[in-house]
Each structure stands twice: as structure tokens, then as C-alpha cells.
Symmetry: C2
Subunit: 430 residues, 2 copies
């Protein structure tokens, strides 16, 4: 950076004093960042929004909503800005709008929980909820348990708290609780502190699509309670179920409050709402409120969601979401089976993603790189592994996988995209 | 907490296994919180919104907007949700909507800066911007400079990063730069690390109302550049000016990028929007984007603000804001001079607050407590002092002050509220 000009921002109105003799501010203060920020890139992230891509690019990397599923919120916004003008334009309670919290408690109680409005905190999306939970629980040097693979956006959030990872494997029934017990026992035997939390997406896991069995859920909570380790349950896809019986959420199975539940409206209503929630013991919510220093989540967005959520439009919307993504899931599974028969896949019962396990001689990173050149954006499996201690130690190598999303691509794009992948796959496999 | 029942959340659908023999989860995991959260209260904060108070209560504690100043945003919201539906309901760029950033750069450049859209990051209000800057700069044990007194909501944000405070005094020209130099020299002489940042509200300071002189601003930047310490300029009230010439912002006077500028629409448009911005060197913005893990700030709110901001309604709105609060400032200053002549006050040229310095025999905490009993909510001056090392050491005692806000109370309430304060004041002074 020392070769950059010392004077970065040219003063508009008034030249100030002369700059000191240092070669430039970056040079002077490079060592003035927090440890969590010292190694961050100074380059801007590349845009990767579907709307910024050419029409020829097929976005299998996107967690965006199918555009036709974006609901019409105009009437709810109008009501919010007129009938509730004072509520929606003044400061609002940090904990969130009471009626919205009450409705959310009802929704979760219909789903097997026993919560009141004081068990809920409204946040700016589930990622914000996760960050607040990290602020509640994590000091530098702490350990966290994640699945291998795990939701890739959670990895830098955890990393920014200076933690180490304990990676626990999964199968089609979700997190391997025996491997978790082994990991915890090993740490205890070595006199090392236990992890502070266990992070998991139990329903339609991102990226694997696996849903944790009830037996595993009960076992996970039992272990967590015994050891006093919080379970952070992230549930963006829980209501995006296409078939099969709903399995009780970890929160519904939680007798004593060891589960901290994260929810969001992004996958169920629209990603742009930027409103989610944390459901937990009220003592934890009270502490989280004090750590939530944003001046409250948007009261306008909260009112719009509440008015939409209690309108008849909501149930119809959820049905449409399920129907559209079920069709796309079917389309993608059929295309993969037809054109990429060597790739293993488990059919997800909900969610947005298909996770392909490739034969040993195919590298997921190479496949993703070639796919991008051919106008198909997919995400290499290696991006979903946090690194760190792995249980079981001999888990599948991270670079054997790719994740394909079917939420945003049209059925025609799904067929075309898988065709293109098959064409790339052949020379790699040769 | 051990006397609370061990089983907090009764399972709805299915009884799980028996609980272990511990007396309750709180007891088990009390030591499992992060250091920053270990001492937080488990009680819910008391609500203090004007709308929750009886009509007899006069809210001189509130930073709420005067209700008649809340703008009509219905047409902008409608356009945002129809013409820009895909933009406002899908995920959006973490850095913020490009047109909004461009418009903000223009606004700031009209105000003396030289910024481009890459110098801007959209955040969920200025407090969120401050938290992100803390994440960029602060490790546990670092020091930060704040004014004595300072914006009280910033104190717990800094505290949650485990920092120590260096308090620098102020006079009617703002932060005492000589005292700052003395503080820095003392630390250097003792071999202690310099503070990581200097936090200040240079325009219409909260709580004192003081505006920093240009000479002090230049001196502050000179010191900061020389020592390599970032200046965090918080500007919620900058455009709420009633009279007198505008003084260049710290960012406009910043030759090399040492100033990180925080802005918000809360005081200028409406508090409930929950959208603000950070203006800084693009290398800093690039790092902040990576620390902003909330999935982007609400694209709907961003579009509404942009459409309102570039409409003719915006300039008219700002004029009304200035006119209404000027009248209320005048009303409050006149009432205080008439009824509390022993209290010293400097007339603020903008902003929301009047800061009273009481005679030595009057305690601000006692006055605030009595005022609440008499139905006047004011904030004791002691709440605005962060504690820590103080420069100059013999600064005024923190509990000699109270802050009165005139933004939300009507002119009639202003007269009545000061009357009530005068009635309380007399016996305290006796």
C-alpha cells in the first residue's frame, strides 16, 4: 500500500494543514485494526446478484427467491404508513413490535413450542441473530461445533469472534451425535474447555439438504443439556417443506432452554425484508436486547410482515412457495439423475438445495470453476467446510462436492444448467 | 436464580427425556457467557416510549421526532414495491443500494467532502455504523477517547468491546484539543498504547449542544493524523441547524482519510427508518463490508429514502424540521431562563437538546428522580459520562447537569415541563 498516493481524499472546500511526512495513512495505521479485521481483504466483494448477470448465466449458486413468489405488499405498506404512522416512523422497542412477537410465538407454538412474546427478539435477519448470539456467548479462543459441511455464511461470522471450530460429520439423518460425544469426551480428557455452542441447521440443511431425525435431535439436546452447551438452531427453510411428516424442531424438543432458535422471513416471504427472530429463554433475550445496539429493527418492515402474516394472503403464499420449489426440486433431481448419474444425491424434502457428492476423481472446485466459464454458477463444496478438528477424523474430503440451488433458476434453466454441467463433467471424468 | 424452576419451557407435543440433576440451566451455564455479556442484566429494559406514557407525562427525555414532522412516505413505498419490486424484495448488496450511495456522496460533497459511492456503506442506523467501526478497530483492552460528557448510547457499545475510556473535556467550542494532547502525551510517556479512536459529535453535541469550532476541528485532525488515531465523527444533527454559518464537517476537513464519518436519516427524516451510513476510505469500507454480516440493510427502506430524498418533498421537509425545532428550542431556552435562572445554559444552534449546568448544591440525579415523580422525564447528566481517565483531571463533576430534549414535547408541554422543574428545583435548592 505504500506505493499509493498519500493524500486519498482531496479536500473540496479548504486545504487543511500540510500532511505529515508519513508515506500514507494506510502505512501509518495498518497495525491499528482489531485482530478480527487485520487480515480482511481491502478489495470490494464481487457482485453476484442474478440481476447483474447476463441472461445466458444460470444461477445455481443463488439463494434468491423465485421472482414470481415475491408477494404483493403494497396494501400492507400503505396501512403501515397511514394507520400506524407513528409506530412505523418513530423509534421502536429494541426487542421488537409486541404484536409481531405475539404472532411469532403463536406460529412457533403451533409448531410444538411453548413460548411467550418475552421469549422472542426481533432482529435484522437470522444472520444478525447469529451474530448477537455470538456476542452473547463467545470470547476469543472459544470453540464452537459446526457440522461438516455447514452454512458457509456462518463461518466468517464465527471466525470474526476469534473461535476455533470443531467439525462434526453428518449423514442422511443429520449431525452425527456419536461423533459429537467423541469430540467432547476427547476435549474433556485433554483438559480443554468445552465448546460454547453447537450450531446446526436441522431442517433441510444448507448445503446438504438433510433433515435431522427425531432420535438424533433428542440425543443432541440430551448431550447439550448434560454438558451445558447451547444449541443454536437455524431454521430458514423449516416451513419450505414439500412432503413427508414435519419433525419437531429442536426448540420444541427442548425441555430446559438449552436451544437458541433462529428464524427468518427471508425464505418464507421475501429475502429483502431483513427481519428475523431469536427464540430463547427470556433471561437470554433480556441480555441479547442489551447487546443489540442498532436502535431497533425497522418498525415499518415489522408492521408490514405482521399485517401480511395475519392476512389470508399468508397461507396461500406459503402454499405457493412450497409448490413452486417442489416442482423445481423435482426438475433438478430428475435432470441430475439423467445427466450426472455418477453423482450421489439425497433428495431433500424441502429447502433450496441439492448437494452432490462426486466420484473420488472429480474435484468440486475444478468443476465449479469450469462451470462458471460455461455460464453456470454453482458453489464448490469446499466453501462449506469451516476447518478445524474433525469428528470423525476420516470424514469425506471437502472438495468432493458441489451445491446446486433450484430456487431462482427456472425449470428450463434447470434442465439447461445440468446439461452444461454434464458437458463439463465428461472431460473432467475422462 | 437457583430458586426458579429447573424446567423453563414446558414441551408442547412430546415430553423428552428426564432432566439431569442440575438445579437449572441458568445455574449450569451461568459461566458460559462471553465476558462482554457476563454482567448484563437479566431484567427487561423498562419501556420509555412517549406513546406508552400517560398524556400527563412530559417527555423531555425523548429523542423522538415531533409527530407532525413524520413525512408522508406512502407514494414512495408504493413505487418501491411495484416499479422496484425485484430490487426491494430480494437480497441486496451488503454495501448498500448504489443509487442511494451516489445520492449520499452528492449530499456530502455539497457539504464540502470529496467522496464517491465506494466511500459509502449503508448501515442500519448510525449506532450500527458505530458498532461496525468498533468491530473494525477494537480489541479487548484497547482505549477509546470520548468527550466528557458523551452520547450515552455509545457508552455501552464501546463497553461491549471491553475497552477503557479516556475522557476529554469540552467547552463551548467543543472537545478540548489541548487536553487531548495532554492525555496522549501522558500515555506515551508511560509506555502505554495510544487509544484506537476518538469519538465525537462535532455538530450540536449530544448532550451539550456545543458545536466544535473550525480551529479545534483542524487541530483535532492534525493530532489524529500525527498519532495515527482514527476520528469517528457522529453527525445525526448536522442538518438540523437553526442559524449561524455551517462549520465544515470533520470529514470535509480530513486530508488523508483519518476520519470515519457516521450519518443517519433518523433525525432528518424519521427515526423509524433505521438506515444510516458510514463514509470513509474505500479500503476501510471494503473491510467493514466483510464485518457487516446482516445480509444487507433493508432494500425497501433504502429505495424509499432514495425516492423521497431526490423528490421536491425532501428540501421542504428539511426546512420544516429546522423551523419546528427552532421554535421549540427558543421556547425551551426562554422558559429555562425565566423559571430556572440559576441553571447555566448555552443556546444550541441546532439539534434536539439543552444541557443545563446546575449550581454546585443541586444534584442532577436527584433532580431527575424528583422530576419523574412530578411527571417530567429528563435525563440526569451523570448518564453521559463514560468514566475512565479524565482530562483535564479537574473537570466538572458529572452529577451537576441534566439534559432536556425539546424535539417531541409541544410548546405548551415545554412551558409546563419547565414550570414543574422549577417547582421541584426550589426545595432542592433550599
Amino acid at each position: 500500500m505504500a506505493d499509493k498516493p498519500a493524500r486519498r481524499i482531496v479536500i473540496g472546500r479548504r486545504p487543511a494543514f500540510e500532511r505529515p511526512s508519513q508515506p500514507g495513512w494506510c502505512h501509518v495505521i495498518e497495525n491499528r485494526f482489531a485482530r478480527r479485521a487485520a487480515t480482511l481483504s481491502t478489495a470490494f466483494p464481487a457482485p453476484h446478484f442474478p440481476s447483474e448477470l447476463g441472461p445466458e448465466v444460470i444461477p445455481f449458486d443463488s439463494g434468491f427467491a423465485a421472482p414470481q413468489l415475491l408477494p404483493d405488499l403494497t396494501a400492507f405498506a400503505h396501512a403501515a404508513l397511514t394507520e400506524h404512522r407513528e409506530e412505523t416512523l418513530q423509534y421502536s422497542a429494541t426487542q421488537g413490535q409486541p404484536e409481531l412477537r405475539g404472532w411469532l410465538a403463536d406460529l412457533m407454538n403451533e409448531d410444538g413450542c411453548s413460548l411467550g412474546p418475552d421469549n422472542l427478539l426481533i432482529v435484522n435477519g437470522a444472520k444478525h441473530g447469529l451474530e448477537l448470539v455470538c456476542r452473547l456467548l463467545l470470547d476469543e479462543g472459544d470453540a464452537v461445533v459446526v457440522t461438516a459441511p455447514t452454512y458457509f455464511t456462518a463461518i466468517p461470522i464465527f471466525r470474526s469472534f476469534g473461535v476455533e471450530f470443531v467439525e462434526v460429520g453428518q449423514d442422511e439423518d443429520g449431525l452425527l451425535t456419536e461423533a459429537l460425544e467423541h469430540a467432547l469426551a476427547e476435549r474433556q480428557a485433554e483438559g480443554r474447555p468445552l465448546p460454547k455452542l453447537i450450531y446446526n441447521v436441522a431442517d433441510f440443511h444448507n448445503p446438504t439438504g438433510a433433515t435431522m431425525s427425531e432420535q438424533r435431535r433428542l440425543r443432541l439436546i440430551e448431550i447439550a443439556e448434560r454438558e451445558g452447551i447451547f444449541v443454536v438452531e437455524d431454521t430458514p427453510y423449516r416451513r419450505v417443506r414439500f412432503e413427508g411428516p414435519t419433525i419437531a424442531s429442536l426448540k420444541a424438543l427442548d425441555p430446559g432452554g438449552i436451544v437458541i432458535h433462529l428464524g427468518t422471513f427471508s425464505k418464507l416471504i421475501a429475502p429483502g425484508l431483513r427481519i428475523g427472530w431469536v427464540a430463547a429463554e427470556s433471561e437470554l433475550i433480556a441480555r441479547l436486547i442489551q447487546l443489540k445496539s442498532d436502535g431497533g429493527s425497522s418498525p415499518l418492515m415489522q408492521r408490514i410482515i405482521y399485517e401480511f402474516g395475519r392476512s389470508p394472503a399468508f397461507a396461500a403464499h406459503v402454499e405457493r412457495v412450497q409448490a413452486v420449489y417442489r416442482e423445481r426440486r423435482d426438475r433438478m433431481v430428475a435432470a441430475v439423475r439423467r445427466r450426472l448419474p455418477e453423482a450421489q444425491l439425497s433428495v431433500p424434502e424441502g429447502g433450496y438445495y441439492v448437494w452432490l457428492t462426486l466420484p473420488p476423481h472429480i474435484d468440486g472446485d475444478a468443476l465449479a470453476a469450469r462451470a462458471a466459464q460455461a455460464g453456470v454458477n454453482i458453489i464448490a463444496g469446499s466453501k462449506f467446510f469451516a476447518g478445524g478438528e474433525a469428528y470423525p477424523a476420516n470424514r469425506t474430503r471437502p472438495n468432493h462436492h458441489v451445491r446446486l440451488s433450484y430456487s431462482y433458476a427456472t425449470p428450463e434453466q434447470i434442465d439447461e444448467g445440468v446439461e452444461r454441467l454434464a458437458a463439463i463433467y465428461a472431460p473432467l471424468a475422462a
